[in-house]
């Protein structure tokens, strides 16, 4: 299942860090962060709990970039 989320992040390098952090999160099959449109597309593993996974994604992203936001 794929979903698209709006995000807020300040610099392009930070956006890349977010992408790496999101990809590493359990339950995430693939993630793409688009800095120019401020959107994150997430493809979830089968059977993943979307809400819970996204909370982990946000937590992981905040670890590498404290100033970021994901709106879900």
């Amino acid at each position: 299942m794929k979903r698209s989320y709006n995000i807020d992040v300040d610099c392009a390098n930070c956006a890349n860090k977010m992408e790496v952090a999101a990809k590493k999160t359990e339950g995430v099959k693939d993630a793409v962060v688009n800095f120019m449109t401020l959107k994150m597309k997430v493809e979830f593993e089968d059977g993943a709990d979307v809400e819970a996974v996204m909370k982990n994604v946000l937590a992981n992203c905040k670890k590498v970039e404290s100033d970021c936001e994901i709106f879900f």
Binding site: A12, N16, V20, N34, M36, L38, K63
Partner: protein
């Protein structure tokens, strides 16, 4: 500028002003340190906080942490040695200026491009029973509803014109500024701008499925498909920062150890620490990382303004490397509509021959009949046409004004025993006989588009090495078209599955270039997906074409193909300029810093300067109008 940016700008200005003032204040020792800490903290408090959080989260390569270490290191050196704190504050100040500029420039580009793409209105007009117009949310309009569009308004939904005649500006979709006239029965698409008359439109699609919405979606999603350059820069940036930090550590320790152990002199801590701190200042890859996606984003935006929709940054990148272009013939290079191109009468004059032939075809809907009737528009005159009969696979016959007239191919002439003679013209030859006597023939061809020749010349000039044409039409027609347009290779008499096979052959044989295929999207879907880049032409209003292709040309002008390639090349040129410039300047700073030829001022200045230049360069990719 948003609130965050305004606040930061204020902090930058205050800090800079304080720095200038402090320059004239005579202070020493701890007082001096305390005074300089004021602008330092004003400009840098958030960086320091983030650095702290970075340590807590175990992120040693957080650029805020590195900036903090560099500036605090400079302050310590100031305390123990030079008494100069200007450098530390200046470094922090310029760093923030750089970050601010990045935020501002990106915000501006985003706004620019979303304004470019502001092709959807946020209301539709519905006529009430009493004749007044009411503005409604376009999302609420259902298929089959009638909406009213006044002069000057943007068309909100796809549909058909019910009432009224007007001219529309299609440039938001096609990039063409020539207005189009629409009459009742014509299709109208969202994204058009209504210019002269009031029209009533019966909607055929919902708001989200209308053309303008689809285009917006397409362009927005396109920048999520990353190019190889973007992926390379991401990977590079991830290695770059740790590499520079480790180099800084080595620079701070190895020469010291060398001096201590090998040369046995007392080490100059300050000198090597300072140089190592310089490294930290240059460790942020920001300039590189921001300018590349920005270039592609601008390129995609500029292209869509020209009516060229590219579905991914990767395709934009690949277009530049295209060396072979394969064309479908009918509808791509030719108009796809048959036309009478020559009339060769034998016994009566040409006009009369056409006249008679058109009458025979009066009741036929065959494409050949359509073209004959088009050539003789006054077909509905007082002539008597009766006993019209179709002879399958051969033609038509009818009695016109008492004469028995046969119109068809050579097989038809043979079957009624009429001797015909061939034509040296290329195309489909329609023979005519009257009362058993050969009357002459009419040549019907699929006409080459007017700008097809210019398009092909333009392609060759843009660096295309090989052009190929695939068609299901016969060899003679294919040969003529190829020769006329100077196409390098052609394959004729192809069935749809043959076209795919030919594409595979071409893909296997190519020397290294990207192979693009250009077709009309609807029946070319398999070949479009097989090619490296599938380009659909005349896609306006065709969902199938937009789905199937990688690059969508909204109108059917073949010249847009070379324009797409030129846009791509410009964008890629800018990307490489930025990559080489940014990496080059950074490495230069590192080398100069290592040898003590650069100080922190220069390092941060170069860093910020490179970013500003790279961003401004990236925005150039937007300007494709004159390409």
């Amino acid at each position: 500028m948003n609130k965050k940016q305004k606040k930061m700008l204020l902090r930058i200005i205050i800090s800079a002003v304080l720095m200038v003032i402090l320059h004239f204040v005579k202070a020493e020792g701890w007082l001096k340190l305390a005074l300089y800490m004021i602008p330092y903290l004003i400009i840098g408090y958030d960086v320091l906080l983030k650095a702290f959080r970075g340590i807590k989260n175990g992120q040693p390569f957080d650029e805020c942490l590195l900036m903090t270490i560099a500036t605090i290191g400079a302050i310590v050196l100031g305390i123990t040695g030079s008494g100069d704190y200007v450098e530390a504050v200046a470094v922090m100040l310029f760093y923030q200026v750089g970050e601010w500029f990045q935020s501002y420039a990106v915000g501006k580009s985003r706004k620019n491009i979303s304004e470019l793409m502001d092709i959807r209105p946020d209301y539709a007009n519905i006529e009430n029973e009493d004749g007044t117009l009411e503005k409604v949310d376009p999302y609420d309009v259902e298929i089959g509803d009638i909406i009213v569009i006044q002069p000057g308004e943007k068309v909100p939904l796809d549909g058909t014109v019910e009432e009224g005649t007007t001219s529309v500006n299609t440039s938001a979709l096609t990039g063409e500024s020539v207005p189009r006239t629409l009459r009742p029965g014509d299709r109208i698409l969202s994204g058009f701008i209504n210019m002269t008359g009031v029209i009533k439109v019966r909607t055929e699609k919902e708001f989200d499925e209308s053309t303008a919405s689809k285009i917006l979606d397409l362009v927005e999603n396109a920048s999520s498909r990353k190019s190889r350059s973007e992926n390379f820069i991401s990977r590079f940036a991830r290695i770059y920062t740790p590499a520079v930090v480790i180099a800084a550590l080595l620079l701070a320790t190895l020469p010291l150890l060398y001096e201590l152990l090998i040369v046995k002199t007392s080490p100059d801590l300050g000198k090597w620490t300072y140089r190592a701190l310089n490294f930290l200042v240059v460790s942020c890859p920001c300039a590189l990382v921001i300018s590349i996606p920005l270039s592609f984003f601008a390129g995609l935006g500029g292209a869509s303004k020209s009516g060229i929709l590219i579905k991914g940054s990767n395709y934009l990148e690949q277009l530049a490397g295209t060396e072979t272009v394969v064309f479908d013939k009918t509808g791509t290079l030719t108009k796809g509509v048959f036309e009478v191109t020559a009339v060769h009468p034998d016994i009566i004059d040409g006009e009369e021959l056409l006249h008679m032939a058109a009458h025979v075809e009066r009741y036929s809907l065959h494409p050949i009949a359509v073209s004959l009737k088009k050539a003789y528009p006054n077909e509905h005159d007082d002539c008597e046409v009766s006993y019209a009969e179709e002879i399958t696979g051969q033609g038509m016959k009818a009695i016109v004004n008492g004469k028995e007239i046969y119109v068809g191919n050579s097989g038809l002439m043979d079957s009624i025993g009429v001797e015909w003679h061939p034509c040296h013209h290329q195309g489909t030859i329609i023979h005519v006989s009257m009362d058993g006597v050969y009357a002459g023939h009419i040549v019907i061809s699929d006409v080459i588009k007017e700008n097809a020749r210019e398009a092909l010349e333009s392609l060759k000039k843009s660096g295309i090495r090989k052009t190929v044409m695939l068609t299901g039409d016969n060899r003679n027609v294919a040969e003529t078209v190829s020769r006329e347009l100077k196409i390098d290779e052609f394959h004729s008499d192809l069935l749809p599955e043959d076209k795919v096979m030919k594409m595979e052959e071409i893909l296997e044989g190519k020397e290294k270039g990207i192979v693009a295929f250009v077709g009309d999207g609807i029946n070319d879907a398999p070949v479009l997906s097989r090619a490296d880049i599938g380009i659909a032409m005349g896609a306006m209003g065709s969902d199938a074409a937009i789905e199937a292709a990688d690059v969508v040309l909204m109108d059917d002008d073949p010249r847009k193909i070379s324009k797409a390639i030129r846009i791509s090349k410009k964008c890629l040129r800018i990307v490489y300029e930025n990559i080489w410039f940014a990496i080059g300047v950074k490495i230069l700073c590192l080398i100069l810093g290592a040898f003590g030829l650069a100080n922190m001022w220069m390092a941060i200045f170069a860093d910020v300067g490179v970013m500003v230049i790279a961003v401004l360069n990236a925005i150039r990719a937007l300007f494709v109008r004159d390409l």
